[in-house]
Amino acid sequence: MKHQKDNLQFNPQIQIMKVSYEGIIEETDSNFFNWAKSTSIFDAHPFFEMLREFERNKDTDKTELNFPCIHLEDSNTERICDVSFILEKKEITCILFDYTSKYKDLNQIAQQKNESILLAKELELKNKYLLEKEEFKNSFIANINHEIRTPLTSILGFVEVLEKTKLTFEQEELARIIKRESYHLNALIDDMVDISKIESGTLKIIEERFDFQNFIDGFNESYSKVAKEKGLIFETNVESNIQEFLIGDRTRVYQILNNLLTNAFKYTEEGKITFSVTKNLQRTNKLTLNFKIEDTGIGILEENIPHLFERFTRFNGYKQISGTGLGLAVVKNLVDLLNGEIKVTSMPEKGSVFNVKLPFKFEITKAAPQKKKKKYTLPENKGKFRVLIVEDKEVNQYLVMKILISNGNFYVDVAINGEEAIKYIEKRKYDIIIMDLMMSPIDGYQATHMIRNNYGDDYIAKVPIIGFSAKGSDNEREKCLRAGMDDFIKKPFGREDLIYKITKHIAKKAAE
């Protein structure tokens, strides 16, 4: 018999029964199930009810049916058996092969295998859920970012316009406060976007070659002014053996140091702030710099130090100082991302010391001079230049108009969307277009594409276009350039930045 041959090594116990086609047990050896002779097999176990379906075998040949791994039990015993039925002319021979121990071993293996598959599926599902949640969070932050930056652009822009008017001392002071708080809000949005990018792994480290002394001078210049305003001493000590040009993510290093210096000034009311840079390690073209920011401020309690870099951490007693508790979390994340280290020591009422170690590279060959921001001037003897502002929000239209008109070199037209912009350019020649991106029915990208491709007239097709948007993503600029624009300005923008970019592109076009 097939089962016996296949599984001899298990030496199964066997029970053999002869059963009539009516289901009556005619003979049994009762080896493990004590089912009585002359009783119904259908009552022994529901498995045998299937015998009701078997028709009497009319052939002389025997028919064999095999059922592996059947759980059988009666009031005394429980077995896992392979069951064979041999259908004969007068009766059915029923053979039970007891493989309980073999199947129990297999059961354990199957349990482990299936459990591990189910666990993997569960983890996969959880991971998918987390990714979806993360995606939702990031798109939510991107939208919030856009929604906040749009009005912020107007606030900052109009404050700058306001500052150019005749103001009383009190009005000047109020404008200064609005400006300061708006910049603070802007910095907060930057932090929020950065945290979100770091967490989603989308923040890119961009290495560039930069003038290190110039970089440090920038801090010296800005914070000397702050120190003077607050009546503090600000000292900068930079070790002289540091290379003039370094390679690293200048923007992110600036963000780290600027955040720490801002904090030092924020929490220090009297005394001194020292900013030192020393060379820590140098090997071939790599070096590590140690930046130390030391203040004589209010300090941090020892038990609070381990929580200092957690998000939204602000300690009691400092509530009078504005802040959200995101700044140091961004710093720590950026330091980690740059493969650096950050350490803090502090004593309440004495001050704090932040030590940041960051790796850089440098060129072994002699450095080329650093590119400086090129100066542009508007072409002379051409009168005023005509600018088309394509923007759907009235407040932004008004702001850009105000900046350009007060500059005195521009005539300004306003179109409320891409569709209207197309009508305008067909009627009038423009020297430059300032193009918002999100508008309907035709957005900034579509409008640019139409301007670049639908006109044989070079004056229209090659008009300089500057995209502007409150979307803070790194890709936005690239997306604008790909759409055919010449440049991009992120909202909120400064008055000078806007004028610089407009001047640059008009000058470049004139030089062609």
């Binding site: 176990h45 529901p46 498995f47 009810e49 299937m50 009701r52 379906e53 049916l65 095999n66 059922f67 592996p68 791994c69 059947i70 759980h71 896992i80 199947y103 297999l106 059961n107 199957a110 349990q111 299936n114 459990e115 598959i117 189910l118 599926k121 599902l125």
Partner: protein, 164 residues
């Protein structure tokens, strides 16, 4: 006259076939997964609306890993109904359901085939139904062996159908 009908529970492993089996037969449920090896068989007598009694012999089979074709054919011999169970929380248990159903319908053309989505307690019913419809996944009932939702109703309806 006492009717006796064989009903086989089929489907991928871990979808809750044994839980449905236990819930229906003994009104019991336990958390945690316990593999079924081979087949376990139990009987439940159901009173039909016309007064007849139906012995439902339920075969709770070992779940398959890939396709229903892996299920031992002898287990399906002489069955009157097949219940194909899938897990509402695991897309992999229903995304290729149509292939299994096609096989079953072709091979057991005279057998009643029902499709159950189990673990309803873990999903949002309305959204899940909409999702299944969108994916074109056929189902007869959505059940929860844990909360007993729709379990008794399903088996009662099935009993009536197979007794006809």
């Amino acid at each position: 006259m006492k009717l006796s009908k064989k009903v086989v529970l089929l489907g991928p492993f871990g979808v809750g076939k044994t839980s449905l089996f236990r819930r229906f037969i003994d009104n019991e449920f336990s958390e945690g997964y316990k593999v079924t090896l081979g087949v376990q068989i139990k009987k439940k007598v159901i009173q039909l609306p016309d007064g007849r009694e139906l012995s439902m012999i339920i075969w709770d089979t070992e779940g398959h890993s890939n396709s229903v074709e892996d299920t031992r054919r002898s287990y399906l011999l002489g069955s009157h109904a097949i219940i194909y169970v899938f897990d509402l929380t695991r897309e992999d248990t229903y995304k290729d359901l149509y292939k299994d159903l096609e096989y079953l319908k072709n091979t057991y053309s005279k057998v009643i085939i029902k499709v159950l989505g189990n673990k309803l307690d873990l999903v949002h019913e309305k959204e899940m139904k909409a999702n299944l419809l969108e994916l074109n996944i056929p189902f007869d009932y959505l059940t929860s062996a844990k909360t007993n939702k729709n379990v008794q109703d399903f088996f009662s309806d099935l009993a009536k159908e197979i007794a006809e």
